[in-house]
């Protein structure tokens, strides 16, 4: 097997183990609610319902789904079997809609918002950070404190401020939602324009905060590299500055890619809360609704999906990293 192939297999094993633990936590933690969760949940959600037949039907649905009359091990097996067949249970809040259906409708919105926002923010942030480290002087004195301040603003804080300034006061952008609510989703130009207009503010608030954090990291890495011996040596050799900058950028970039892998979980979490501020129809907003309605199946569906997505993103970044970092290949060669 090739060196890179071995690296993939090893990584895959670790991510699989992590996935198993994530799934186990997702199963175990909500079942630690004291007492009989089903009767507790059903009594909470049926408050105000008078039709005793419906209440009974609801109760029985969840009794079967949770299977709490069985031992914990058997419950876990049922849970796994349902997972594999794509069955995440029935939502309490939107009874009798299955959780998978709700999540499937939300996923495109969340991915469409977060993936471009995080990538764009990451790229711009790295370029700005490198420039700040390289140019120094006024440029660094301005970019660095601004980046530091933007980075310490939580995602949702910036989202709230932008919502107030650009949507409420200036009326430039719509207040909430993913598209105009009178519209029916079609493949028309108007619908697309409406989606884009709703997309702008949440997108920008994620991008700005991401730029801040990434610029700080890249600035630090670049300064570290600029102080290293090979830069001095290259300068003494008379190599052009632009070429040295390229060396420095490439070397400083590698830890930034690992940094992206490590911080992607936090970023996704922050962006999910961003969605809530704009009532964007993604996973974050559904989770907000689910928590308010104590909709446990939907909550655990959301957390499972988020964990899965973050693991997948990490795995992808690791694969790319193994491909571009010569040190990893070298380490694998030595092992052989």
């Amino acid at each position: 097997m090739s060196v890179y192939g071995k690296y993939i297999v090893k990584k895959f094993f670790w991510y699989f183990l992590t996935l198993v633990i994530a799934v186990t936590l997702n199963f175990l933690l909500p079942r630690m609610i004291e007492g009989n969760p089903v009767s507790m949940i059903v009594s909470e959600m049926t408050q105000g319902m008078t039709d005793s037949d419906t209440i009974k039907r609801v109760y029985e649905t969840f009794l079967v789904e949770f299977g709490i009359d069985k031992p914990l091990g058997e419950q876990f097996l049922i849970y796994l079997k349902n997972l594999v067949t794509g069955n995440l249970g029935t939502s309490f809040g939107l009874y009798p809609k299955p959780v998978t259906e709700i999540l499937a409708s939300a996923v495109p919105w969340t991915i469409g918002l977060q993936l471009p926002a995080i990538l764009v923010g990451w790229l711009i942030g790295n370029v700005l950070g490198a420039v700040a480290a390289y140019r120094k002087g006024v440029f660094d004195k301005v970019i660095f404190p601004v980046a530091l301040f933007v980075n310490s603003i939580p995602f949702f804080t910036l989202a709230i401020i932008m919502l107030y300034v650009f949507a409420l006061s200036l009326n430039w952008f719509p207040l909430h939602g993913g598209y105009d609510y009178q519209m029916v989703p079609t493949l028309s130009f108007e619908f697309f324009a409406s989606v884009l207009r709703h997309h702008t503010l949440p997108f920008l608030s994620i991008v700005l905060v991401t730029i801040g954090g990434q610029a700080i990291g890249m600035r630090e890495m670049s300064i570290y590299e600029l102080n290293s011996d090979y830069v001095l040596y290259s300068k003494l050799l008379g190599i052009r500055d632009s070429k040295i900058a390229k060396y420095v950028f490439r070397n400083a970039m590698l830890p930034q890619i690992t940094g992206l892998a490590l911080s992607i979980g936090t970023m996704v979490g922050g962006s999910l809360i961003c969605e809530i501020v704009f009532s964007y129809p993604g996973i974050g907003t559904w989770m907000f609704t689910a928590i308010r309605q104590l909709d446990y199946p939907l909550i655990s569906g959301c957390t499972l999906l988020i964990a899965l997505a973050v693991l997948l993103a990490n795995f992808t970044i690791d694969l790319i990293y193994g491909w571009i970092d010569p040190r990893i290949k070298a380490a694998q060669m030595e092992d052989q």
């Binding site: 936590l25 609610i33 102080n227 979980g265 501020v277 989770m287």
Partner: protein, 278 residues
């Protein structure tokens, strides 16, 4: 220790952050002495704009938002500090054990650390918070602390395992020092500056985590925190009502606190880690 403190005072970044934080702490300690009202008492109509009597107006229940903000900052700082202590201590213990002992224990602890770095901590935070019925601000802080230690553990492990084979540690071993004594006197002093910095960062991220989880509606009960103020503002549609004073001051307070902590951290970083000075 004394001399490093003297250097710290000379760092403008550190002093700027520290002064901002101290001013904030001074405000939340002194203001309640003058205004002895209960922050949860309803004293005005809903969403009254700021005026000379109500510095930041009132919220949807007609409560004094400035007073709420003061108490909110207090809770958020407390939660952040407690979470920071828990996260740093757990990370330190795991990192030291895995870095110093090495072998199988190192492999096991490193694997656990790596797994919990990848699983997003706020997912675990949500799952635990949903499952716990009565959450005080202390419980919330502890939950945040026990979900955010892996970063510290990883860094402490890396430094410890490189220190372990240094000469002075070997000499201590040959001299028959006990393991706890070696760790205390030969390893800890070398990573102390890092641990302090990690604690500052963990506190900042603890405050952010509390705000995020409270925004979701999973915050502590029977208290006011900055995240809870923003949750109320969102749930009761303050933005639509145009009541900026219900959420912007809380949002900016969080940014100021975390900014001052980050500034302190950057200042320390430049002093203890001369390589990154530009």
């Amino acid at each position: 220790m004394n001399s490093s403190f003297r250097i710290l005072i000379k760092s403008p970044k550190f002093m700027f952050g520290a002064c901002m934080l101290l001013a904030m702490i001074g405000l939340i300690l002194i203001y309640p002495l003058f205004n002895r009202n209960d922050p949860l008492e309803m004293i005005a109509l809903a969403y009254q704009p700021p005026d000379s009597k109500l510095l930041l107006g009132s919220d949807n229940f007609g409560r004094d938002l400035f007073l709420e903000l003061i108490y909110g900052i207090r809770t958020s700082l407390q939660v952040g500090l407690i979470a920071g202590v828990f996260a740093t201590v757990i990370g330190l213990v795991i990192g030291l054990a895995s870095g110093y002992i090495g072998g199988m224990i190192d492999n096991l602890l490193t694997a656990i650390t790596n797994i919990f770095i990848v699983i997003p901590s706020f997912v675990i935070l949500i799952l635990i918070s949903v499952s716990i019925d009565s959450r005080s601000s202390f419980v919330t802080a502890v939950i945040i602390g026990i979900t955010s230690w892996p970063w510290t553990a990883r860094a402490v492990r890396a430094q410890t395992s490189s220190l372990r084979n240094r000469d002075h540690v070997n000499i201590a071993k040959i001299s028959g020092y006990s393991t706890p004594r070696i760790i205390l006197s030969e390893i800890l002093p070398y990573i102390a500056s890092y641990v302090v910095m990690a604690f500052v960062l963990q506190t900042a991220s603890g405050i952010l985590s509390e705000a995020s989880i409270s925004m979701l509606g999973l915050g502590p009960y029977n208290t006011i925190s900055l995240g809870i103020i923003m949750n109320w503002a969102l749930v009761f549609e303050a933005p639509v009502a145009g009541a900026w004073w219900a959420f912007i001051p809380a949002a900016i307070s969080i940014a100021i606190i975390t900014f001052s902590l980050y500034m302190m951290n950057t200042g320390m970083d430049e002093i203890f880690n001369p390589k990154i000075r530009s």
